[in-house]
């Protein structure tokens, strides 16, 4: 051993937070600590996966640490082995083995059969595992020395003495010395080498507490209940080298072996040796890709840009330029494969739509979104539906000379088409060649409070209250606790103190593996050889173990097939219109300048529309007043963190008003810009940056950024921690601006706007695509409102509002809603006599299956005639609670009895719960229609408030109106209705009350909370500043009905209430006249006897507000 090596050691067994509740440090922290201690190499061996390995390998490089790729694999008997990739073949085998571990076992309990490892270990170095779970130590402990020797001999025979190592650990656990002695002795006897490892689970000692909590969570118990499974001490951290050397001073060879193994593993570098290739397009054997792509595009050019078109010449120039760029980057095949996939999507759409009227609606199978919409090649191939020439879309955001990663092409599909398309992609390319991209939801304050609180065995009610009332984005729980009613002082109390510390430590760590919304990776080489695959929570879905950033680093081609609820809605709406009118409308040929549509949009009447319905959008729309598609694109883009943080909103609105006045006066309008160099790129958005692509254009125009610099900036924008990455460009920007004679103050001001786009922002192409869909949704709603609302209901959940709020918007727009009816409703909502009939599937306790079976029975054998008839013929799986729920909401009113009488009869027909047999109801009387002596007892009908409560309890929404309409006379007389706010002067004090429909605390609002409070006449926007929020937090965050006292603010066409006080709405204690005397059974709810009681009952059944932030 070389003298320098005497103080050297490589850690070969290390878990990061990507061991999911078995590692308390992110890979970065482990690397930083290893660098601090002078480690030459570090292996990342997370449990059954390599989730963080590529990011780890990239991060290790600048630190000069050799990253070794590996994993701790769980075998079928529950023991573990450490596998390290020595060679590219070894890595391939590692990926395949990890895939088998996951796909061949229960999703949440991955296991690898020994035989699989024995068949596929070439290129792998295998360590015998940790003290607690390792294969060899466990065998030694459970089965004795002979069995352990036999196992060691077998491992040597199968894997080879140069590939299988006996792992020894010294974590100061009692028995370590005896165990390691026994293992070393065994290794010597059998002719194997021993290797020292640390079994590292965190980078710093004090994180042992967080690790203890994670172990408790993993075993679904408390800290007290997890004593046997937790580590006995805090010695599983990444030690300084001298400590390791001292621990193993009696076996220095075991330490030296770590360096030998690390050196061997240099043969494989994950950042370099992956070997990914994109699949070939169809027809690759007939012509080379650049030629095939050029031919395809030119063939379609005439159709899109005829010879006499104004845009023909620029289109030809643009096409040639793009083809040159694409060929330069060797991406021709990539575009052609996308084209193949879109053709596949067309086939899928045809199959899905077959037999339906929408089949002739000229609907695209899907639509492009994002920066790809700016490409003319995408437009000609059909991947985009927006003309990039006519709309002056900037290509640089999508494609440029110095492109460092593969461009993203995102495609939106209706839900059902997307589901089928994903299945067909698997079929076409093979299950081993396709995988969905994963994502890693991380711990945030609320999840941290809930889970750690349970591990600490804190009272569940209190944990839940803190989780609900605390600001989810707060940095520090201690400060939050101080502000919560009843929790001041808790931050120093036992257990709560620990909760605060641990919540801080766990924030940002990955919680579990989830599926990315739409990303798929396709590879010509089996994908399982490049990255392991595992089952997603959704059935039939398989995800790869890397998220989008790692897939990007690996230069995988990620295809984004996204499901867009609005596209499903449009499809269904078209179908319904066709049923009513005989032919479906062609949405590509409607009038895109219809003033009636824009009048409604500008009035803020946009609830239920695509992208422009949110509270913030409505506020903006009233100020900006869009009148064409380009304005709508601005609308879609401007209410995003990028423009908001960049300070673009107010200037834009002001200048728009100036522009309107100038045009009205017949003058031209020249928008001001921060510097003349920015005029070209910012003129169309009145001198402010609204789109992501403008960020690149600004950097090029003001600071002379090359395409390479712009490309690096573009990549930085889309990464995690983009703010820090983008801030790193300041020096280059400043220098470039200076060289162009731009004053530093101006450069700084403009750069601040550029940095703002590290927050979320849209490329113009994306905004244009979405703006178009927003208009089409508005058009459909305006001209075919009933069909639109039916489709809107049937495609929930989607959008900004609850179905309850959407229903009242329908009522305000003159759409009558009919409650579910056993003999009239379908499974889903339908159009009936120009009204919306709610479907049976919307009733609580009804599933799609039971609703479908009921409708089928009715259609086969005629309408249901009585309670008994219904009970006899209803599907067996339909439970009594479902039948009762339908009756409560009036679904059986057609039988001519009151709802109470109907419920009474159900009780006669069906036994109580305790006596039920195997089927859903356990019929008391079977086939014969026997009369019961008490069948004809009479009961009163439900009062209006009882009906409303029943609707909320069984549907989750009301079809009959707003709850406050029933208690209006019991509320304070000086409350102002929403419709009357317009008539008040700005600055007057006012009080409003209503149901909270939405609560928002946007990151860009610096702590201000926005409430959308709805009464019978409309929705009021309430602004709650931080001081008011702090005083009335419980009411602001938690009350479903609120009473707000404040001042009226009117500005630019918007009307808001600036809250000074927010409290729960109690109502006055005057009785609402009520004639009910009896109390119903425990399924239902207590019948109220006053407005106060009604509101109290409503609080229990009121729909949750949509909370954002």
């Amino acid at each position: 051993m070389v003298l320098a090596d005497a103080l050297m050691y490589a850690e070969l067994h290390c878990h990061s937070a990507y061991s999911f509740l078995d590692g308390a440090s992110p890979p970065d922290a482990l690397l930083a600590e290893a660098h601090r201690h002078g480690y030459p190499a570090l292996a990342l061996t997370d449990r059954n996966g390599i989730y963080g390995s590529l990011a780890f390998a990239h991060a290790a490089k600048p630190l000069g640490i050799q990253a070794i790729t590996g994993a701790a694999v769980t075998l079928t008997d529950g023991s573990e082995l450490i596998l390290l990739a020595e060679t590219p073949q070894g890595y391939t085998n590692l990926c395949r083995l990890l895939t088998t571990t996951h796909l061949g076992a229960e999703r949440l309990d991955p296991r690898l059969p020994h035989t699989e490892l024995e068949e596929r270990h070439d290129g792998l170095i295998i360590l015998s595992g940790s003290r607690r779970d390792g294969l060899l130590p466990l065998t030694l402990e459970n089965d004795g020395l002979s069995a352990a020797r036999k196992l060691a001999e077998r491992c040597k025979a199968v894997f080879g003495a140069d590939r299988f190592f006996v792992e020894i650990q010294r974590n100061r656990v009692r028995g370590d010395v005896a165990l390691t002695s026994a293992l070393i002795s065994l290794a010597n006897d059998v002719g194997l080498s021993a290797v020292a490892t640390g079994s590292v689970h965190y980078h710093a000692r004090e994180l042992h507490r967080l690790h203890d909590v994670m172990v408790a969570l993993r075993h679904r118990t408390t800290l007290d209940g997890s004593h046997r499974v937790r580590n006995p001490n805090s010695e599983f951290y990444l030690r300084p080298l001298e400590e390791v050397i001292a621990l193993f001073r009696d076996c220095p060879d075991a330490v030296a072996t770590t360096l030998v193994i690390a050196e061997r593993c240099r043969a494989f570098d994950l950042t370099r040796d992956l070997g990914y290739t994109f699949p070939d397009f169809r027809g690759a054997d007939r012509a080379p890709a650049p030629q095939a792509l050029a031919e395809l595009c030119r063939a379609r050019l005439d159709d899109r840009y005829p010879e006499d078109s104004l845009y023909r010449e620029p289109a030809v120039r643009r096409l040639e330029a793009e083809l040159v760029l694409i060929e330069h980057h060797e991406l021709s095949g990539f575009f052609l494969v996308y084209h193949d996939l879109f053709d596949l999507a067309r086939d899928v759409a045809t199959d899905v739509r077959r037999g339906s009227r929408r089949a002739s609606g000229n609907l695209l199978p899907g639509r492009g979104r994002g920066s790809s919409v700016s490409s003319i090649v995408c437009y000609l191939l059909g991947l985009s539906h927006i003309d990039p020439i006519a709309n002056k879309l900037f290509l640089g955001r999508f494609l440029c000379e110095t492109l460092a990663s593969v461009p993203d092409i995102d495609l939106d599909f209706p839900r059902e088409i997307r589901e089928e398309l994903i299945r067909r992609v698997y079929t076409r390319y093979g299950a081993e060649h396709v995988g969905l991209v994963c994502s890693f939801p991380t711990y945030r304050l609320r999840s941290a409070v809930r889970e750690i609180g349970k591990a600490l065995d804190l009272p569940l009610g209190e944990i839940e209250l803190v989780a609900k009332l605390a600001d989810g984005r707060a940095d520090e729980l201690p400060e939050e606790l101080e502000h919560l009613p009843g929790f001041a002082g808790r931050k120093d109390a036992p257990l709560w103190r620990d909760l605060c510390t641990l919540a801080h430590e766990i924030r940002g760590l990955p919680r579990h593996v989830s599926q990315h919304p739409g990303g798929m990776v396709i590879s010509s080489r089996p994908l399982v050889e490049l990255v392991p695959l595992e089952r997603a929570a959704m059935e039939d879905r398989v995800v790869c173990q890397w998220d989008k950033d790692s897939c990007d680093d690996a230069r995988f081609i990620k295809i984004d097939f996204l499901a867009l609820g609005m596209l499903s809605l449009v499809e269904e709406c078209i179908e319904l219109i066709a049923r009513h009118t005989g032919s479906p409308p062609d949405l590509s040929r409607i009038d895109f300048e219809d003033p009636a549509i824009y009048d409604r949009i500008c009035a803020g009447d946009t609830i239920g529309l695509f992208q422009i319905e949110s509270r913030a959008q409505i506020q903006m729309i009233r100020r900006s007043r869009p009148r064409n598609l380009e304005d709508l694109a601005v609308e879609v883009a401007i209410v995003r963190p990028g423009p908001i943080v960049g300070g673009a909103v107010n200037p834009y609105v002001r200048r728009r008003e100036e522009q309107r006045r100038a045009h009205a006066a017949g003058r031209a309008y020249e928008p001001p810009v921060d510097h003349p160099l920015l005029r070209d790129c910012l003129a169309e958005t009145l001198g402010v940056i609204l789109y992501q692509d403008q960020v690149l254009q600004v950097c090029q125009a003001l600071a002379g950024f090359t395409t390479g610099q712009a490309e690096a900036l573009r990549r930085a924008m889309s990464r995690r921690r983009s703010h820090d990455l983008m801030a790193g460009f300041w020096d280059e920007f400043r220098q470039g601006a200076q060289a162009r004679g731009v004053p530093e103050a101006t450069a700084e001001k403009v750069f601040a706007q550029v940095i703002a786009f590290s927050e979320f922002g849209f490329p113009k192409s994306h905004a244009a695509a979405f703006g178009l869909l927003a208009y089409q949704s508005a058009w459909l709603r305006h001209y075919h409102p009933v069909e639109y609302y039916v489709a809107l209901f049937n495609n929930q959940p989607m959008g900004f509002y609850s179905i309850d709020a959407l229903g009242r918007d329908a009522l305000r727009n003159g759409i009558d809603m009919k409650l579910p009816d056993l003999n009239r409703s379908d499974v889903w909502c339908t159009v009936e006599d120009r009204s919306l009939r709610i479907g049976l599937g919307f009733v609580r306790h009804w599933s799609e299956e039971t609703a479908t079976a009921t409708v089928t029975e009715r259609e086969s054998h005629g309408p249901f005639k009585s309670v008994g008839d219904f009970i006899r013929r209803a599907p067996p799986a339909l439970k009594r609670t479902a039948i009762e729920a339908l009756m409560w909401v009036g679904g059986c009113d057609g039988f001519g009895l009151t709802r109470r009488e109907l419920l009474w009869q159900v009780g006669l027909w069906l036994p109580p719960k305790a006596q039920r047999s195997g089927d859903g109801r356990g019929r008391r009387q079977l086939e014969l229609a026997l009369n019961h002596p008490h069948e004809h007892l009479r009961f009163r009908g439900l009062a209006a408030h009882e009906q409303l409560l029943a609707e909320y309890a069984t549907l989750g929404f009301s079809a009959s109106g707003h709850p406050l309409s029933l208690v209006r006379n019991a509320l304070p007389a000086d409350l102002t209705l929403n419709r009357d706010l317009e008539c008040l002067k700005a600055g007057v004090k006012c009080q409003v009350a209503g149901l909270v429909v939405a609560r928002q605390r946007p990151e860009t609002a610096k702590g201000t909370v926005f409430l959308l409070v709805e009464d019978e006449t409309g929705m009021t926007n309430v602004i709650v500043r931080t001081d008011v929020y702090d005083r009335y937090r419980a009411a602001v965050r938690g009350e479903p009905f609120v009473l707000v006292t404040g001042k009226l603010a009117k500005d630019d066409g918007t009307v808001n209430v600036l809250a000074e006080k927010v409290e729960g709405l109690q109502g006055e204690m005057r009785n609402v006249k009520c004639e009910i005397e009896c109390q119903p059974d425990d399924f239902a709810f207590r019948i109220p006897h006053s407005a106060f009681s009604f509101l109290k009952a409503m609080r229990r059944v009121a729909p949750d507000s949509k909370d954002w932030g």
């Binding site: 100061r172 370590d176 203890d212 937790r230 006995p232 001490n233 805090s234 257990l495």
Partner: protein, 90 residues
């Protein structure tokens, strides 16, 4: 059938088994470590550490099992929070 014992149960007399006893460690003139009033330490057989109950009353202890002069074995531990030493039977 066992006849009831005449001696009544005295739960006030329950006591822990093998409760730790405070000890002092000292170095003698020849540099040998010994447990005060118990004996010289001839060999340290094993050392280990435990960390537990940090959410309640933290326990952080560094243990060592020692062989004393004469062959007797003893377990010593240092409370890492107070610094005090204790002994227990192995």
């Amino acid at each position: 059938m066992v006849a009831p014992a005449r001696t009544p149960l005295r739960t006030d007399r329950l006591r822990a088994v093998n409760a730790p006893k405070p000890v002092a460690l000292e170095w003698d003139a020849s540099g040998v470590l010994s447990v005060s009033k118990v004996g010289k330490i001839e060999a340290i057989l094993e050392t280990w550490r435990i960390d537990d109950e940090w959410w309640r009353q933290p326990i952080a202890r560094a243990y060592m099992e020692v062989m004393l002069e004469g062959g007797k074995r003893l377990v010593l531990f240092q409370d890492l929070i107070t610094g005090e030493w204790f002994s227990q039977m192995p």
